[in-house]
Every structure is written in C-alpha cells, then in structure tokens.
Amino acid sequence: MPAAGVKRFAARATGALTLPPVLAGCDAPLSTLAPAGPVAREIAWLWWAMLGGAAVLTLLVLVLLAMAFGPPRKVAARRWTHGLGLGLSLPVLAVTLAAGLWVGERILPRDDGALEIEVHAVQWSWAFTAPGPDGPVTTRDRLILPAGAPVDLIITSGDVIHSFWVPKLGGKMDAIPGRANRLRLQADAPGTLAGQCAEFCGLGHAVMRFEVEVVDPADWENALRAAADDGDAADD
C-alpha cells in the first residue's frame, strides 16, 4: 500500500529530524545501550566511560601527530618510549582492568538460591524450562522472567554451539554441547524484551530469536501456567 508506505516514510523522516538517529536507535529492542536490568546497566556504564577515555586518547595522538609537522625538534627518546609509551599506557590499562574486574565480579552468579531456569538451544530454537508450581514448565522461544529478582539461566545445547543473548539484560553466554553454563540476569520491570542467538550456528542463525516476557513477580507462576495452557509449551 503506497499510502501507508508514504506515511511510514514521513513518520520515520520526522523522527529522524527531531531526534538524532543515533539516539533514536539506542532505545531499540536489542540495544545494549538501553539497559533494562542491573547487569546491562553496569556494562553500559563501563562502555560510556571507556568511550570517553578512548576519545580523549585518540585526540591526544592526533594532536601530537599534527604538531609533528613543523621544524625538527630536539627530542629525548626516553620521554616518548618510556614517558608516554609506558607512563601513559600502564596507568590507563591498570584502571581499565580494575574497572572491568570490579564490574565483572559484581555481575557474577552467586550461590544465593536464586531462581534457576534451564535454557536448551537446538538448531534453531530455544526451550526454556522453569520450575513451575505444578512441576517444570517448558516454553519454546519465549522466556518468562519475574521482574526485580535475580535469575540464573543454566544454558545447554543439543547440537552445535549457540549463544544466549538478551542485550538489554546483559552479556551473552554460549550454549556448548556437553556443558552447562550459568548466566545471571535480572530485569527491572515488567515488559517485553528480545533475545537472539549470537554464535553462528548454521542456516537458521539469523532467525534463532526469542521473546523475553518480564512479569510482576506475583504474576510469574500464573504467567507460566498460562504459557503451559496456551499450547505454547513444548511437546517434550
């Protein structure tokens, strides 16, 4: 329908005019820069900090380069190789490493009896098994999470290597045959998020996606039960 097409184009064009496209994109469903949970938030913070540092350092190098285009100068070799080479890089890298480790430790799974949901990946779909009130409930391509509580995902694979990733909640974790990997995530508030396979896994890789439904903790068991009744549940 051309009319609808024009309308859509107009809407997009005005959106592009009013909002820089960069910022508009940040809030996209798979954006790591629009965190919907503490883990993703910590990492996003890390990113913005590193981006700022990287911009400053790039600028520094470019200014030094520009200044080189002039008459020859007497320079002390050690000031460049040791002073700048080591003196600048070592502290910057040490701070970066410390920040990374600090964030990394904070977002690790802990042994605190958090809810565990099994994630089983096969070419090219996801099965999520949660401990429901009436026994385990399995949903396909749809993960139901309680808001505000840490959840540990136990990630396995039935064939090749896949990778579980909900960008708005946090980092990815591979699903590897013969292994069970643990990933902790937490969602802030009820809503719908998107997830996808991040490790190339063959023909269906691009469409190996899933939905994350975050519900109020009080509604979680009902939501699971409903999902089971829905026929959304897997046959197995």
Binding site: L62, P72, G85, L86, L88, L93, L101, F200
Partner: protein, 860 residues
C-alpha cells in the same frame, strides 16, 4: 684464513672479537662485465618454462604479492556481496546458504590467501636486498611455498565457483563443522585447502628465520640490523610457533570427518572447546603475525620520510620481543563467553591489556621520530597518517574488548567486525599501501604518475571510516555477526545502508590504487637510483633490482651509509665474493650475532622440482576431498621420492679448496661445515614440529582433564600391547646412539670407516624396527579409534611416532647412500648432522608419546 676442519666458531666469542671486522676491498672491475657474468648464473630460464622453474626471491616475492593482491580483490568483491545483502533488512539478494559461504570465504581469503602471503611476499622480496645477500636461504622452498599457496587457494576458489565452499565461518567451530552438522565437502575444502596453503607459511617462516640469522652482510650485527629485519624475525618465529596448533587442529578435525575418530564429539570423549583453544592459540598470534611486518614497514619509512633516525631502536626491539611473547598468552580473549571461570578470564584480560603496552611504545616512538625530523608529506606519508588514525582507534576498541564484562556484550556482534577491520585494515593494509608506494619504484624502475595516488588515498580513507565507524554502533544496538537478514530490526537499516554505500566507495578507492600501480608500471618515467635517499641496502642497487641483487656482498664499510654511497663500489665488485666466477649461485653465510663471514653457501639453480612436489601434495589433497582414501598412499609415496630427490639436490661435489672472498679472507664451502644452512632449516622445522607436538600434548591433557565423558570405556588392548609400545618408544633412542657412533667414526676418518657404515646401517634398522612395532600395534593391539577420544588420541600419537621414525630411517638411508657415493669423508659430514637432529627429536618424542598413550588409560 679459517681452518676448515675446526668446529664452527662460537658465536658469542666471535661477536666479542669482531668489534673491528676489517675486510679489505676487492679490486674494482667493470660493473657491466660483472652484471653480465652474474645475470647468466642467476637469471630465470627463458620463456614461460622459466616462470615454472624460477626459484629467485625477487621473482617469487613479486609473484607472492601479485597473487595476494588478486586474492585481495576477490575477497573484496565477496565483501561487496555481503554489503549488498545487508543494505536492506530482508536481504533478498543471496540465499542463506550462499551468504554463509561468501562470508566464510571472505574471512578465509583475507586471512590465509591475502594477508599472510602478502607479508611473506614482502619479506621474501625484500630481506635479501636489505640484509646484503643474494637470495633466501632455500630458494626451492620459496618456490614450493608459492605453488602450495597457489594450488591451495585455487582449490578453495574452485569450491566457491561450484557452490561447495566452506560455510561455517572462518574459524570453523566444531561441532558445526563436524560431519554430523556439515555433511558434504565444504568443511573439508577449508581444512585441507588452508593446511595446504600453510605449507607455504612454514616454508617461508623457516627460510626467513635462517636468512636473517645467518646471511646478514659481514659486520651487520644482530643488534644493529635494520628494524624491518627485527620485525620480520619476530614474525617468522611467531609463524613457526603459531601455525602448528592450527595445522594440528585441522588435521584432527579432518581425521574426525574422514575416519570418524572422535576428537571434538562430546558423546565419545571429545570436546568442541579443544578446537577453539587450538584455533585461537594460532588465531591470536596470527593478528600480530600480520601486524609486525606492517609495523616494520612503518619503522623503515617514517625516519627516512622525516629525514632523521628512528627514535628508541632498543625500545622498539624490546617491544617486538614483548609482542612475540605476550601474544601467545591471550588466545582465551576470543573465548570469554564459553563459560570459563571469571578469575581465569581475569588473567587473560590482563594479558590482553598488557599486549597493548609494546604497541603503544612503538606508536609513540614513531610520533617522536616525526617530531625529531621534518615530515615530508609524500604519498607513503599519507598512508602512514591513515594508519595512525585508524589503528589507534582499532587498538582502543581492542582494549575495550579485553575488558571481560564489555566483551560479554560486544562479542560476536558487528562491534567486533568493526574492531577487527580497524586493526587489520588500519594496522596492515594502510602500511602495505605505504609500502607499495615506497617500493614500487624499485620493483618497476619507474616513477609514479602524480595525483592519482593521493586521490585513491582519500577515497579509501573516507570509504573505510564511513563503512566501519558506525558499525561499532550497529553492534552495540545488538546486531550479531554473520546474519543475512534482520527483518525485525528496522533500526539497523540506516546503519547498514550507510556502511554498504561507503563500502562501495572504499572499493572504488582500491580500484584507483590498482590503476595507479598499473599506470606507474607501464607509463611512469624511469626513476633515478635511490629515489628516497634511504640509508638501507635495498636501495644500493640498480633499479629495477637485478636477479642477483648485489654484484658483490656489502662489507662493513658499506653499512650505515647512504645507499647511494655504497651503490657504485658494490656494483664494481669491491665488496665480498664478487661476480660468479665459478658459474654457481653463491653467497656468504655469517655468524649468528656478529655477522662474521663463516663459509660460502652454494644454491641450487632453476628447477621444476618445487612445482612437481607441490602438485603431488595437491594430488593428495584432491584425493582426500574425493574421499578416495586408499589411493592417497600413491601421492604420499611420490612425496617421499621427491623429498629424496630434493635432498640429493642439496649435495655438492666434495671440494676442499677454500674460496677467496676478499683479500686475506679465504672461506670454506658449505660441505666442510657441519652447521650448514640446511641444518639451521631443520632446527627451525623442528621448532615448529615441537610446537605441534606440544599442542598435541595439550590436546591430550585438555581432553583427559576437562572434557566430559572421561574416563572412557574399559580398554580392550591391555598388557599384551606392551612389547610393541616399548619397542616403538625405545628404538629411536637406540638410533640416537647409532648416529653419534657414526659421527664419531666419521670424524676419525679411515680407521673408523667400517664402524661408521655399520652404525648408519644400524640406524636404519632400529627405526625400521620401531615402525614394525607400530604396525603390529595398529594391526590388532589397539582399541578401535572410533570408539572414544582416548583411543583416537592413541592412534594419533602412534601415527606421529611412525612419521618420525620413517623420517629418521630415511635420513639414515640417505647417509648410507652418501657413503656409497663417497660424499661423506673425514672432512665432509654430509647428512649426518641433520640425521642426528631428527633422530634425537624422535628419540625424545617417542617415549613421551608412549607415556601419554599409557597414561590416558589410567583412569579407565
């Protein structure tokens, strides 16, 4: 001057003595006469057959680079197909199967058929000229490497034309690439094709290492050689150590696919993570293998373009060594999301950040050099500035990716694609474009046509950053690598469309660059000698470079001058070893650290043997691809025969007379030395071989300790196999005793003659016995290798030992043949020192293999 029977001078002692290496000049002769005399000996044969038999480094270096350029253009076309597919969200351009083949081939071509061969070609072309020698240490090996590269590349390209190209991504993760999930020959094309090509990497690494260490012009000390040689030495050592894990992994996966031996299959004691460890154990050093030569180009060009000296030579050499060392300790940063404990990741994160330090030191050494001098904005300098802008940004995103939590988000997204293109195009392609602008006058003997080069630079630079800068954002907005459609994500459309448009701009830029090179080659004006006023020896010769490079080998007084000042004296034969009076290809071999003249090496001439050998290996590869496994024995036999013929080609007639290379300097021929270049080459190959064996030991340990599914089922073969294992494990040690006895008797001369032959015969016998024991084991005293990884690994260990006793037996047999022909005398050791190296290697590895094979059974 040197007593030819004395043992080789200890290098350290020589280095201490030769602070004043005084070598008088030879009397000057007519340059044209020398040129004719040398050209007759060194030139390729005439016509197309001359191209087949060529072994000359200039010819082959250019051919490597030219072929790599063609593959670069093909890889570039593939990337344009990828960008066309991704320009819209429903990508109705390629189907998924073809798209997967195309991105896999784009990565594989750029890594294995462009970057590595390009740097090999540059090193092969340049090193002899830079070091003041006449060719690489093993010219036939150069040619063998080239043909293996060409045939392997053609096999992969042909597969793409027929739609059966690899499609599992250029790092070929198992189990996606194993037989169950990748039926067909696609994965085999990658495993066999890339391994075939890697023969050229090992060949190049071996001869580069030997050439740099033993062929520098007299007086060019290791600690004073041009920085480019240091960079290439670091590269070649990394190649010797970095490629074997990949070769082992490829062999294991191919054996799993072809014969169902489980190394990566979890159900039978394998582990897909073993592939990842082995692959990245190669794959990360690979990045520095690619970067170091490019950095070598920068360290060579920047000081000359700024009319000054490089700043911090020592700091740069230290940085190179640090990079070589550190780059082997951070492969796990490609595996941050596989579920390794956080504290272990912290170690690799720290190592990944630490590797930035030597790079930063170099960057500031280069900028400091520019401050010290007066930078001239000539075309190579444009690309150097493009390098700085691009590589610094790529390095910084690399630092970000080394931070574990951020990596968990960015891993396997377009952010990583952007990062690796910033590093590889910034850190390799831009410096190579600078190098092309720099050395084209030498290659073509012509000047460039003004204007077009600068235009190409701007189009490439703008196209590149337009393509890849926003791709960081695309990744952070959640776009994974290697997807062909993104119907549900309209927010990625404008990002991808922008990348695609600028991608085509970049392609136009490369087109302009190629056009510029063609114009220079065909229309440029003749260039005057040494157009850059460079201090290095590569410009101390007529342009284009003659086949023999130097009419006489540079003496200490020719080093460190302007190339211009050394040019004429060298062309007149005032250096060492002028001309080719004996009608053979000769150059000097010098000592390791101090570059003191040691002996004269004689090279084989033009031959089609490298082509025949690589074609035979190619036959093996094709039969493997066709699944005709029993028939592969035929080409393997052919390889053995041709290797023997190859070895015979290294043997020179016995000659005792010394050669006068300069007034007062009489040097022996290579036959009177035990440590010939060939011996050094064997040492390099054994370093690579030892790394392969260490990787295998790692694999055994990794599977036995980490893989699920261990211990395996009860082993059937028990103590009954013990005699065979013991025999195979200990016989090579007996061979090591035999070779020592043979050498001692050879030195004693006539009295010990019978003992020498007897010991050599014994050497053949014990190795044959070991082989027999292994055959006996294989014929019923080992468990079925398809049952469990343990039994498959035992099979591999047995095969490894078998290969080495065959080699040792072959070398002992070669020695017997040399006795028969009278080529081994009290003064000529012939093949004995080389046999000893390989025999000792077999004697050490065989018992280790036996202990490992037995130890794996302990749990079960």
């Amino acid at each position: 001057m040197t007593d030819s029977t004395a043992p080789d001078p200890a290098d350290t002692r020589a280095a201490a003595q030769d602070t004043a290496l005084a070598i008088a000049a030879n009397p000057p002769r007519r340059a044209l006469g020398l040129h004719r005399e040398l050209t007759k000996v060194w030139a390729n044969d005439r016509g197309w057959w001359g191209q087949v038999t060529a072994v000359n480094h200039t010819t082959l270096g250019l051919r490597f680079m030219g072929t790599a350029l063609v593959f670069f253009l093909i890889g570039g076309v593939l990337s344009m197909l990828i960008r066309a597919q991704l320009a819209t969200h429903d990508g109705a351009f390629l189907d998924t199967e073809l798209y997967n083949q195309i991105f896999t081939m784009h990565g594989s071509i750029m890594m294995f058929l462009f970057a590595i061969p390009m740097l090999e070609g540059l090193a092969i072309y340049l090193l002899p000229k830079l070091l003041g020698t006449r060719d690489m240490a093993f010219p036939r090996l150069t040619a063998l490497g080239y043909w293996c590269y060409l045939f392997g590349g053609l096999i992969m390209l042909t597969a793409l034309l027929f739609g059966v190209a690899p499609r599992d991504g250029w790092f070929m993760y198992t189990p996606l690439s194993s037989a169950a999930h990748s039926p067909g020959i696609n994965a085999d094309v990658w495993l066999l094709g890339v391994t075939f090509v890697e023969i050229s990497a090992l060949a190049a690494a071996t001869e580069i290492t030997v050439t740099i260490l033993r062929q520098r012009a007299p007086g060019m000390k290791l600690t004073e050689m041009p920085l480019f040689a240091w960079y290439i030495l670091g590269t070649s050592v990394m190649m010797l150590v970095g490629f074997p894990p990949l070769i082992l992994a490829s062999v294991l996966l191919e054996v799993e696919r072809a014969f169902d031996w489980p190394f990566f299959d979890v159900a039978r004691g394998g582990d897909p993570l073993l592939w990842q460890h082995l692959f990245w154990l190669f794959g990360h050093p690979e990045v520095y293998i690619i970067f170091l030569p490019a950095a070598g180009v920068l360290s060579t060009l920047i000081p000359v373009l700024c009319r000054t000296q490089i700043l911090g030579y020592g700091a740069i050499v230290a940085s190179i060594l640090a990079l070589v060392f550190l780059s082997f300790g951070l492969w796990v940063h490609h595996m941050f999301t596989v579920g390794i404990p956080h504290m272990a990741l912290a170690f690799f994160s720290a190592a990944s950040l630490a590797v930035a330090v030597p790079t930063v030191v170099q960057v500031f050494a280069w900028i400091g050099t520019m401050w010290q001098g007066r930078p001239e904005l000539k075309l190579p300098m444009y690309y150097i500035l493009g390098f700085f802008l691009t590589f610094v940004m790529g390095g910084l995103t690399g630092v970000m990716l080394a931070v574990v939590p951020f990596n968990w988000q960015a891993h396997d997204t377009a952010f990583v694609t952007a990062h690796l293109h910033y590093v590889l195009i910034g850190g390799f392609v831009f410096p190579m474009l600078a190098a092309a602008a720099w050395w084209m006058p030498q290659i073509t003997g012509r000047e460039r046509v003004r204007g077009l080069g600068e235009a190409a630079f701007w189009v490439i630079l703008i196209g590149f950053h337009g393509t890849f800068f926003i791709m960081h954002l695309t990744g952070l907005l959640g776009m994974p690598r290697r997807i062909d459609v993104y119907t549900e994500n309209p927010e990625w459309v404008w990002l991808n469309l922008t990348s695609s448009i600028f991608g085509f701009v970049m392609t136009i830029g490369f087109g302009l660059f190629v056009l510029d090179m063609a114009l220079q080659a065909f229309l440029g004006q003749r260039v005057r000698r040494d157009p850059w006023r460079a201090p290095t020896l590569d410009w101390a010769m007529p342009l284009p470079a003659p086949a023999y490079t130097f009419a006489s080998i540079p003496a200490p007084r020719h080093l460190g001058l302007d190339a211009r000042a050394a040019l004429l004296p060298l062309a007149r034969g005032e250096g060492l070893l002028p001309g080719a009076p004996r009608g053979r290809r000769e150059f000097l071999v010098t000592s390791l650290a101090g570059a003191r003249p040691d002996h004269v090496a004689i090279l084989p001439g033009n031959t089609a043997l490298p082509l025949a050998l690589s074609a035979t290996i190619g036959g093996f590869v094709l039969l493997m691809l066709a699944g005709l496994y029993p028939l592969t024995l035929l080409p393997l036999l052919g390889v053995a025969v041709l290797v023997w013929v190859w070895g015979r080609g290294m043997v020179r007639p016995v000659a005792d007379a010394p050669i006068a290379v300069a007034p007062g300097w009489d040097l022996p021929e290579q036959g009177l030395r035990r440590r010939t270049l060939g011996w050094s080459g064997s040492v390099c190959l054994l370093v690579a071989n030892g790394t392969l064996f260490a990787s295998l030991v790692f694999g055994v340990g990794f599977l036995a300790v980490v893989a699920p599914g261990w211990p395996g089922p009860e082993a059937q073969a028990g103590r009954a196999a013990l005699p065979g294992v013991l025999l195979a494990a200990l016989m090579p040690a007996l061979g090591a005793l035999a070779v020592r006895r043979a050498e001692a008797a050879q030195r004693q001369g006539r009295d010990g003659w019978r003992a020498t032959r007897l010991a050599t015969g014994l050497g053949v016998l014990v190795n044959a016995l070991a082989l027999g024991a292994l055959a006996w084991l294989a014929a019923g005293h080992m468990d079925d290798p398809t049952g469990h990884a343990r039994d498959a690994l035992r099979g591999v260990l047995a095969g490894y030992v078998a290969l080495h006793v065959v080699i040792a037996a072959g070398l002992a047999g070669f020695a017997l043949d040399q006795f028969r022909r009278g080529e081994i005398t009290p003064r000529h050791a012939g093949v004995l020192p080389t046999w000893r190296l390989w025999q000792d290697y077999a004697a050490v590895t065989a018992p280790i293999a036996a202990v490992l094979a037995a130890g794996m059974g302990m749990g079960g």
